[in-house]
Symmetry: C3
Subunit: 190 residues, 3 copies
């Protein structure tokens, strides 16, 4: 592409100036394509252990100065629930609501669930070891400015009313997620 | 590394030209190391909800102009099945085939499966809300030029004949996946 | 930002030299923000099929010249066990220990587990097809210099003593993981 120095004819000062300006422009273009100091995650799972892992990574990254976005979709929306409502839903959505945990305190474990005993045991061990609870980590994430987006499409399909979710969320779709993911240093699907 | 302007001796025009050319070469090298406009995913799971999430992200990214690659491995291969064949397989692979879903329409849900009722309910809700079905999303992904690679090693181990999978797939291994992942803006393991 | 060549006044050789030096510095700064030849993963799952996938990707990437880091957390720690110890643990941690697999040879499958028959079948098929076993892949990963870090916090919460894990591990937290992830070409959560 570039001719080697030995074969190039001697340029004038004005020609060289022009090349330097082209380089400057190329460099600025390149800069725009670099990943930002940013971490993005999809929280697809609604299990206590996985949501905990997501929040520990999110708050850790935010504390290290990264911009962090969490996109809650499918079962992950259960981690954002504050109540259950049945009124006005078709029976399929009523059934899904009834079978879903009523909020972050009721999320199951992905292993050793034992009808809730596993999750209770994990929470008790976390308390003994002074590890922050899910609720505390959620609050910390919000305090650190973690962007929390609830997937509009899965909210609609699963029949979760906006009032069933905690306040202060954004609603968005796959384009919202991709907009952040494609300029991130790391993207996780949890 | 660089000497500061104040201490550098005045260069000749030829010397300066040489430095500009070196810069140009460094910049071109740097450009090659930048992530491309590309998204890569491993589809390890063979569950309806997870394969749906993968396809929604894949088609969304392709529609936004990204090159997208999906590597189907382990249970993810079940999403690519078009038929089951037993002939000529050892009994272990026959058993695995019998226990596998016969294609994308039979994929289970990762939660609330209830012997297929959960998946049927989700599909019915998606239809009501005008969300594309798995089959439509697969077709859309192909129309948008999403690269679909089936993992050769897990196909071989699980005893899935090439004829059992839909046509138009590539076959590859971990090097194929990494070749795309390492130059991507984001890589997901689903 | 940059003035176009046509309107810029003719610079002196010294002025042009200064601009070239600024460009050089900008380029060096940019270089530091590029992702390294590096792949990082969280191994959260303790299932044979998922740990296998993680190790196949890790050894493949290391063989291709990438620096690779694996962070084992939650159930993933079970893949690093070499023994079980109960002495001195509270009953909750004793119970967790009893219910955990005793090491990589006892990891369950995520699907078709059937009380261990599924995992045995997969291992037998892998052997027939000359695919390396989990133990061989672990050894290969170590030989290739893959960095293996056990999550200190989940080790503490789940009550796994350091002696219960294989030797030669590092212990670290979310900051250790993020330190590697944020400079990687790809990061996976498995």
């Amino acid at each position: 592409m570039t001719t080697s120095a030995s074969t190039s004819p001697q340029p004038t000062l004005a020609e060289l100036q022009q090349r330097v300006e082209q380089l400057q422009q190329q460099l600025e273009q390149l800069q725009k394509k670099l990943p930002e100091d940013r971490l993005t995650m999809v929280v697809f799972s609604g299990e206590l252990d996985r949501v905990l892992a997501a929040l520990i990574i999110a708050t850790g990254a935010a504390a290290m100065g990264q911009k962090v976005s969490m996109f809650f979709t499918f079962w992950g929306l259960n981690a954002l629930r504050q109540q259950k409502r049945l009124r006005g839903k078709p029976w399929t959505q009523k059934l899904m609501t009834l079978l879903s945990p009523a909020g972050p305190t009721q999320l199951p474990l992905s292993k050793m669930h034992f009808f809730g005993a596993g999750a209770a045991m994990l929470k008790s061990l976390m308390k003994q070891k002074n590890v922050s609870s899910l609720e505390e980590l959620f609050q910390l994430a919000r305090d650190l400015g973690v962007r929390m987006v609830a997937c509009e499409m899965s909210r609609d399909v699963m029949g979760i009313d906006e009032q069933e979710l905690v306040s202060g969320l954004e609603f968005g779709g796959v384009a919202t997620f991709l907009g952040d993911a494609l300029r991130s240093r790391a993207t996780l699907f949890i």
